[in-house]
């Protein structure tokens, strides 16, 4: 195979091509939309082509390595590479971003900037998932924030400035800890800064320092993931953002935290992780119950969905903390599955909110008759979200359950207790999801507004939701599709824990 920097191309292409948006002729929004759509599709095509033909599934090592020296002074490289862990999130990014661009069709206000920001986010996310250099990882992490902030503060709802400020302060606050961790890790040991992931994997630290580093990274990722009690930016942000932004936030951005947790905390700091993992499991368990019951108390539709995603991320954290093959695979599967389901729920919730111009659940009702298609899709996705078998959520959650049950790290009583509390989440999930869909769709109501807003979802929206629905079903019926991507890498990561 002749060498070609495929990954560099994939990472740079969207933002590079996106910057040409500003040079497009002023001929309405249509040109901008189609141009962006074309870039997204092309990117997705390149990605699938490359991964189909050049990626070896059975190889747990890094592939497609691109390594260019960037800043000589402190050995900073543009170093990219992917493995089984990151290929899933990258494909998810491509898929969701393309669909989010399609979902953002009605955005007309300042559409050039909007679409450019979408593409910038695209690059940043892929860059994050594929970076193999600690400083590059941090840069991509930060690059991500600015587009989100702008998208939130310019295209959001009524309280958008408050939410945007909260978001930027929260995540920037988390980034400080990330920076501390990155520098601490890079500068430890030798005179030369070591930022390469590969050398870092084999490095060992004194326990106190390792715990300190672990804690710093944990805070940064906990803000993003989110882990309670650092989650309060999320409902506000999701409540205010435009639904296409919400799709990106819920579908991809939240996954960065958990990805970082696996990539850095689990791979590099394995001692500290095995110390902290019981706490992670406990926090995850509390999070499932806590977020589910908080979600029940929300009046705002979008906030309710936002809390549901907080609750679902609890499963990921438990899977990461379970220290078993099964559990970690389940965690990765839950990442992807929630990426699809959460994005779709936000999309459908957002579109129906825009139509009826209400956001509070107790004011809604009876819109199933004018909008049967939205009703169908929304109920399907709430079923997927409450882990109905045959859909991806069920597989992911049950694998996490098996992971925690078979885990050898925990005692019987703790396992019983944790499983029990997790399973209570199974009862709470349908309560909030079904009561949400009942309050929105069921019943009968005469509307005072004129009928023109009450159009059912058109072909574009139907296409978006069916596109997300298909992988959900596919993963649910044949989970090996996704598990096979990550299974070798997971084993490689966890072998550190068994042999030490």
């Amino acid at each position: 195979m002749s060498y070609f920097p495929w990954l560099t191309l994939i990472v740079v292409f969207p933002i590079f091509a996106g910057s040409f948006i500003f040079f497009l002729p002023h001929r309405g929004n249509k040109v901008v939309r189609w141009y962006t759509m074309g870039i997204c599709l092309l990117e997705l095509l390149i990605m699938t082509y490359v991964f189909c033909y050049h990626f070896q599934l059975d190889d747990p090592l890094i592939q497609f390595e691109d390594d260019f020296k960037w800043i000589n002074v402190f050995d900073f490289h543009w170093r990219l590479g992917i493995d089984g862990l990151s290929i899933g999130p990258i494909l998810l990014t491509g898929f969701i971003t393309t669909l989010a661009t399609l979902a953002a069709w009605p955005v007309t206000r300042d559409s050039r900037l909007f679409h450019f920001l979408m593409l910038a986010m695209y690059s940043g996310q892929i860059g994050l998932f594929s970076s193999r250099d600690l400083l590059l990882f941090f840069m991509m992490w930060e690059l991500e924030l600015i587009p989100v902030y702008l998208l939130l503060s310019m295209w959001g709802g009524k309280k958008r400035l408050y939410s945007a400020t909260k978001f930027i302060l929260y995540t920037a606050g988390g980034s400080i800890f990330l920076l501390i961790g990155v520098l601490g890790m890079g500068l430890y040991g030798s005179n030369e800064p070591t930022l390469n992931f590969e050398t870092l994997t084999n490095q060992s630290y004194p326990l106190a320092l390792e715990i300190l580093l672990y804690f710093g990274f944990l805070i940064a990722f906990a803000v993003k993931s989110p882990i309670i009690p650092l989650h309060t930016w999320l409902p506000d942000t999701h409540g205010e953002a435009h639904y296409s932004t919400c799709m990106l936030l819920a579908g991809i951005l939240l996954k960065m935290g958990a990805y970082g947790l696996i990539r850095i905390n689990m791979e590099f700091l394995s001692h500290a992780h095995s110390i902290f993992s019981p706490w992670l499991v406990i926090v995850g368990t509390i999070q499932i119950i806590y977020a589910a019951s908080t979600s029940l108390g929300q009046r705002n539709l979008k906030k309710r969905i936002a809390y549901s995603s907080v609750s679902h991320m609890g499963f990921t954290i438990i899977g990461i903390g379970s220290l078993t093959n099964t559990g970690l695979n389940g965690a990765i599967l839950q990442l992807l599955s929630h990426g699809f389901i959460g994005a779709a729920l936000f999309f459908l919730g957002g579109t129906s909110c825009d139509r009826i111009r209400l956001v509070y659940l107790d004011e809604m009702g009876g819109i199933s008759i004018p909008m049967p298609k939205i009703f169908t899709m929304f109920s399907s996705f709430s079923m997927a979200s409450l882990a109905l078998p045959g859909m991806s959520g069920f597989v992911a959650e049950s694998i996490v359950f098996f992971g925690i049950v078979t885990s050898q790290k925990y005692l019987l009583m703790t396992k019983i207790l944790i499983t029990f509390v997790m399973a209570i989440g199974i009862i709470l999930t349908p309560i909030y999801l079904l009561s949400m869909s009942r309050q929105m769709f069921y019943g009968y109501k005469l509307f005072n507004l004129s009928n023109s807003f009450f159009v059912d979802s058109g072909p574009r929206e139907l296409f978006v939701s069916i596109c997300i629905f298909l992988p959900v079903i596919a993963i649910g019926i044949y989970p090996d599709l996704v598990i096979s991507l990550s299974v070798d890498k997971v084993q490689a990561i966890l072998s550190n824990y068994y042999y030490r």
Binding site: T232, V395, Y442
Partner: protein, 740 residues
Amino acid sequence: MEHTYQYAWIIPLLPLPVTMSIGFGLLLIPTATKNIRRMWSFPSVLLLSIAMIFSANLAFQQINGSFIYQYLWSWTINNDFSLEFGYFIDPLTSIMLILITTVGILVLIYSDNYMSHDQGYLRFFAYMSFFNASMLGLVTSSNLIQIYIFWELVGMCSYLLIGFWFTRPSAASACQKAFVTNRVGDFGLLLGILGFYWMTGSFEFRDLFETFNKLNNQGNSLFPTLCAFLLFLGAIAKSAQFPLHVWLPDAMEGPTPISALIHAATMVAAGIFLVARLLPLFTGIPYIMNIISLIGVITLLLGATLALAQRDIKRSLAYSTMSQLGYIMLALGLGSYRAALFHLITHAYSKALLFLGSGSIIHSMEPLVGYSPDKSQNMVLMGGLTRYIPITRTTFLLGTLSLCGIPPLACFWSKDEILSESWLYSPTFAVIAYFTAGLTAFYMFRVYLLTFEGNLHVQFQNYSATQNISSYSISLWGKEAPKPGNSVFSTMNNNNENENILFFFKNTYEFDQNVINQMRYFTTPFLKKKTSMYPHESDNTMLFPLLVLVVFTLFVGFIGIPLVQGEIDLNLLSKWLAPSKNLLHPNSEDSIDFYEFFTNASFSVSIALFGIFVASIFYGSPYSSFQNLDLINSFVKIGPKTKRIFLDKITNVIYNWSYNRGYIDFFYTKVVIQSIRELAKLTDFFDRYIIDGITNSVGVISFFGGEAIKYLVAGGRISSYLFFYLSFILIFIYFLFLSL
């Protein structure tokens, strides 16, 4: 003939294409799909018939030379966790297959007519086919995970079908209630599966039983009992047993064919199926068997008492279903696998017959009283339907008699078997079971008499409208359903609440004067308002399934008659169940004493007859040949007046109990729902004002701090900035030296 076994995997998949094509058709090309709507029922019936032929073939093979067949595919491949998918065919599976497919086909044919004018006709058939597919999948599953998967899927189908008429607020809350209550059961099921997986390392039934019995040799411990109980919790919720039965009566908000198929014959039998399937596991733990039988006894009594005074015809049938499921659960708890399955079969056919019959009644009443379920299903407004819908009446009567346990109808044989088994086990349970048999006869005949005897009471609909269902069925997890105000009659309703509850009683007492009055103004007001004055018999498409089910009800009992006459072995069921029986009771003899059987049977039949007699005293119409005035008068005049008041009080208590659903729903609303709401409020408060409050206050404090520094300290002069800067540096250096 092993070919059929090899291709048995196709059975659960057969009804799926209908669902998928209707689903995609409705989403993508709605108009075209709707134009050929009535055509869709044909493929669904056809595919299910093919499934029935397959399962009949399997059943014949099971009867002739029964052996257990299992086939597996691997589903997920992981290094230390592999999950297999497959199917498992044994006598239990083949019985359930036959049951589901036969009832399913009849219900599909029936609902083609029943739902023909509904907007959601196609949706209905899509859901139905999906339900059939997942139910067939449930009974053919080969491991616990598969059971859990299909368990949830049938639960979802039930949710969708209960909420089929989603514009009704009561249906919306009923379907959510059903789903969440079932989720409580699923919670137990999942935990039980995980517990047994942890203990035995397997999900597959036979491995599970073997490993568990090896492990369990040293005696009972707490953990296996707990896990078994958790598994049983799933069955409790699905089969509407005592603490989690609340969803079943509300589930009657769905269309009537659904009530017949899902909530009487098949899905509620899934819990029974699970317990029967895992019986080798449960028999190893005596404690859990006691719990099963105890739950069964509580449920059968509770269901029967709650059915006593229901007004809604479907609700009283639902409580009757619950009570009969209690019988089956009791039989399983006693360890008599055969009696339980026998009653499962007979009850399924009889109850399906009754539900379809009630659907036919509702269909005929709807044009007269309106389409609201609290009118068309209200037995107060019915009566004297014998004249108008004779075929439905005959079938309904046969179903009622069967459920009461009158020979030679189906339920007699099976119920009698359970009753005599319970006598062997514990006299207390037996007394309750026998007593409930009498109650069953009473409430079933009450339904029958109120519906078919006497006169049509359509003119009472104003009375009934005042007591809207929503006022006493507490709408759980939701907003209160809007009460249709009826100003004139609501005042009347408030004045005599008690009388309203005792409505039927008053009615029958004063019947003789009323009849003439009613007949007089019967004709005039209704001619103007309604197009048709009298109820009409349903179409042939609806009557055909009823008649087929009558045939089943008449003859299905004969498969399990314990009498062996000469050389002809009539006992088909025992032969069918031979291998499972060997698994459970290695050396049990089938010899049943004829004399013993006869005494038992005569006892239970006499109890049932007594129940029927009492019912006919209370609810019999003045025209029925049974009742002469002397009898009622003598009964009424027996005691002095004080005694009558006492009797009234007792009936009052019973009626209140039944009317308020044993106060259990009330309890759940007050305690469970309220506490969940409080928890939600509490966490929301905590989240908003404490966790978020800290964040916001940090923001606010830093903002004010910045402002304060801006205005108070510096004032914009460079000299003061410098002053502060230097002074802080000095302090810092001071501390640095101090530490050195």
